[in-house]
Symmetry: D2
Subunit: 341 residues, 4 copies
């Protein structure tokens, strides 16, 4: 931590800060210039986080240099985390394609989609049973009945499934059906949920919040790892900006940055990020090229009648064409769809 004093801060002010630091068990190293004094602070993570020095007399700015996370960091674990679900993997050499409908609606809808995405090469089936909707008047999902339909469809075609857990009280129920538990963007900082999932032995797909920084995303993942669950997949799904042409702004530089900062797999979700069917294919291509470990794509057998997110869902034939295009790109990056041969 660094404490930057105001120009010409008095000795009394400086001493006061130094005393507080010593009191808290930290070391203080002074650098004094003609106008500025800077105090370098050395101590352990817990001490640092207990100190709030910004408001002290003479203090201009406090810069934290210890990151608020540890276990998720590449410094802590250099090798890629590879997450294995059923017969497929995510991370390392393995590239995942997660596809399926926004929400589970009917048995035939989810089964038809499952068959189509499996045939096209998807490695994991997605589908929402509990839907977070801005308006209480919008379709909220089928609940446990939806989980059952999704699992049956996954079993039928031989794909593991990922689905969102919206309520911490449903975590056990969701876990009894799902292979991967998804935490949605709106719940990225639902710390109680993160702690609960940290105690479970089930991979977690953690979506970046709409206005979450990289540091906040990694800190949210840290909650899960700290609880003992090391199987976390990060997902960039677009951040909220001033641009309204796309629903959100897909931040692919963050995908590349995360690959250097953490050992966890990182995937991209162009469907939610852009909200526009015509941008899904180019953004999947870009995600592969940027180094993502997977993509997540919404597919619906009849997007015009989808109960949710129709405009951003691909019909099966478009998803098929997308996969024909993507697979050689994935391989050209030295990756394997779903992992080892």
């Amino acid at each position: 931590m660094l404490v930057i004093m105001r120009d010409h801060a008095s000795d009394t002010e400086i001493d006061h800060v130094v005393n507080l630091l010593h009191e808290a068990g930290a070391e203080a190293h002074l650098s004094r210039g003609e106008v500025k004094c800077i105090i370098g602070v050395i101590g352990d993570r817990d001490v640092m986080y207990a100190l709030d020095l910004e408001g002290l007399p003479g203090v201009e700015q406090v810069v934290r240099v210890l990151k608020p996370y540890k276990l998720v960091s590449r410094d802590f674990q250099a090798d890629d985390t590879v997450i294995r679900v059923a017969n497929t993997s995510i991370g390392g050499q393995a590239f995942a394609v997660i596809a399926g409908p926004c929400s589970v609606e009917t048995e035939s809808q989810v089964l038809e989609t499952a068959q189509a995405v499996k045939a096209a090469g998807a490695t994991i089936l997605r589908g929402g049973a509990y839907k977070p909707r801005t308006s209480p008047y919008a379709f909220q999902g089928l609940g446990e009945a939806g989980l059952r339909l999704l699992k049956e469809a996954g079993d039928e075609v031989g794909l593991p499934i990922v689905t969102e857990v919206l309520d911490v009280r449903d975590a056990e129920t969701v876990a009894s059906y799902a292979d991967i538990m998804q935490v949605g963007a709106r719940n990225m900082q639902n710390f109680m949920m993160l702690e609960e999932l940290g105690r479970m032995d089930k991979p977690v797909l953690l979506k970046r919040g709409l206005s979450a920084t990289i540091e906040e995303l990694l800190s949210a993942a840290e909650y899960i790892l700290k609880g003992g669950n090391r199987q976390v997949i990060l997902c960039e799904r677009g951040i909220r900006t001033f641009e309204t042409y796309t629903r959100n702004t897909l931040d692919l530089a963050t995908v590349a940055a995360l690959k250097t900062l953490t050992h966890l797999p990182v995937i991209a979700d162009p469907s939610h990020a852009t909200g526009r069917r015509d941008l899904i294919a180019p953004m999947c291509r870009a995600a592969v090229a940027a180094g993502a470990d997977g993509v997540m794509v919404e597919v619906h057998p009849d997007p015009e009648h989808a109960r949710c997110d129709g405009p951003q869902s691909l019909p099966p034939r478009d998803f098929d064409a997308l996969m024909v295009d993507l697979v050689p790109r994935i391989e050209a990056e030295g990756r394997l769809l779903g992992g080892e041969e």
Copy 2:
């Protein structure tokens, strides 16, 4: 709802949209120009929300004109909602000053603060027992022990208390101590929590999410009202923008806008919005002038040693000076601190 067709959309495309609308039970009114055709859609709220037309061939844009909320709207209820807790009120003529520490730390800390803020004129005592923290290594609050200390302090000085419910599973516990249940910014779209609070008979203080639009905030409140609980207080606490000098950007125009859009009381939280002690007083003054129904201010007897948010906490003597300045301003707006004489 309006469907704006692409330039020179074909008759087939237009007919297709019109047929889908009729199928869904909506009426379609066409306006045709030389290059553009626009379809006005008339139908009820549920039909509208089941329709996702953006992806159809020939469709350029869909504009929703029905709002995703109803019960919270001024159109639904013209008169201000006034919320009464213990012997004080929020809304209508009543202006609330909610003050207290960021987090409850010790019995003496919270009692000392309670006495100070009561003496200075605060109408409600705040304090966090469950703290949402970005890092899992930061202080997470005292939990139920904190609730007990807060309640004892409130009882001792005669102030009702507000505290955050962080986990939906703790809602009953929090309700057994608190007079007002706070939903934090990170949980604004924790819909399960909102539904739970909608079933309870306890006022809710709903904070705007860091990147939530006005429409999303009102829709979140709608979840609570739809469940039967009409006692919701909205709180603007700063939105996330590119500016880093302040922690967030206090959006006072939204306070003024909300007062026209909804009958619910609206307060401002300059402490969290700015994150800087020196900006709290001017932003409280501005909030009063902008028409807020209250302000929320962090006060700590010894900010330098606060375990959380010290830099933005006022020491008691500064809070006292703030109140001396604010009370005449509140009265000059025709408001009464805490409500009727």
Copy 3:
């Protein structure tokens, strides 16, 4: 400046940075912890700005602690700058109300507006002759003819005028009519324009860019002061955020923050910030309370037929009512409309 090295940076990496610093004429002070080494750098402003160390091996982050501006700072000049134009002032005790049409359209329109705003108590007349418009097909202003009409109206009613200079080549022409030269938000970082205005002896009203930080706004002002022109008025006019209900987000905390950071007068422009007529009055009230040195309000005798910004313009009777409300508030803050008695 502080150089924060990556965890466990090697001695070679640290030495390399230190050598570069010495080479550049700066001093380096090391603080070493178990995992982190931090280098405090002391040197003069020019040396600091010539150093780009972020890309060096082992360097994690560089924190600049010297601000990129000097002359505009309160540290450089503690007393408020008061700008005098004709018989009125801005800054210090003087509060300015700048009012008039978005664009000058006709002689009668501008004269009628001038009479109305003068009668209501405005201290400066505004009006655009050169209009920056997103679309090349929108009305671009009357040019020099507009300047002439504005000046005639100002002279007629006895108000100094402020108008935007859009093209650096027009600076002399605009200066020959205007009392204050306005730099619009889109030109805040048109450095050539700023330098040109820095060479002139005419007050400048500098509007904050839509996505400009406080530091960038102050640096832009520094360009003008560095050229020799010390008469700069800063104007907060809303920043671009994700919220679309208002045109932009009025950032009043920045007004309060600027008052502590700089000696220059700071005004607010609720018309452009909100883009909504109904929010102008509450935001003017909030600006006064937040400590602004003035407000800028668009007034049009017939907003429905305005060629620009009608939706955010007040008709004269509403402006009159606004002034009746504002004047006592201005005085309650210990300010005087237009300055000394």
Copy 4:
């Protein structure tokens, strides 16, 4: 244009809007539901842009459906614009790699860079002679001397050059050296500059403003085309968001979206977008995959001693490695570096 009336707007209010529309020469088509009345407005672009109806009694929202641009649109010209400079092209099948130093510093620096980037396969040489700098104390470029050095280096190695015009008064001078005139992000809405460049017969590289929407970028380009100059290249260089890990947020979905909206070539600038050397290669790869017509990369022979943007500049050997990686990717997309064989 659509005018959405407030719920239960009165007949008088509706008639008033309809009358204003007729008066302005537009047609009005009414769609009336139980609570809402919507008015579809048909008329020509100029009439539409002269109308500002948002403030009228009973009007809730006005939705513009005619875009503020025309000439730049794919609807106006379906075929890709291909821009030819010297012996190389941009657009259509031709992929451009623009490389060179942030700023021209010395003869040897620019020549050495030119030789290196030419050898590696770059098709155009970049370099700044006039530098827009936030602080007036930072290095501002060599001016015309820099232009001369850049041109000499380009001539020497046989590459056309692109450089920024910062001051509209320098446009002729810059044009006498440069093959392509660059408009920087801060000048994207310097409409006078755009108009001046519209009158010239020289390709323009127009960078997206830090907070410019797609519509604003296209409208800025429209200014140039409207003046008669059809040779415009658009450049996505990152937008300003809340994320601070990267300097800005590279918005590749906008690159893909622009390719559908306009016939103009679209390139990406990962150097400025990310501000981090380690993210340039992955973002170049992603840009190629997203369908960009080119990339712009900063290269400096000695980034540690660069006078500007060192941290984001590649040394020649890294640029060389980048090109070895990129060229097969460019060809895999069916593109040719620099155009026809």
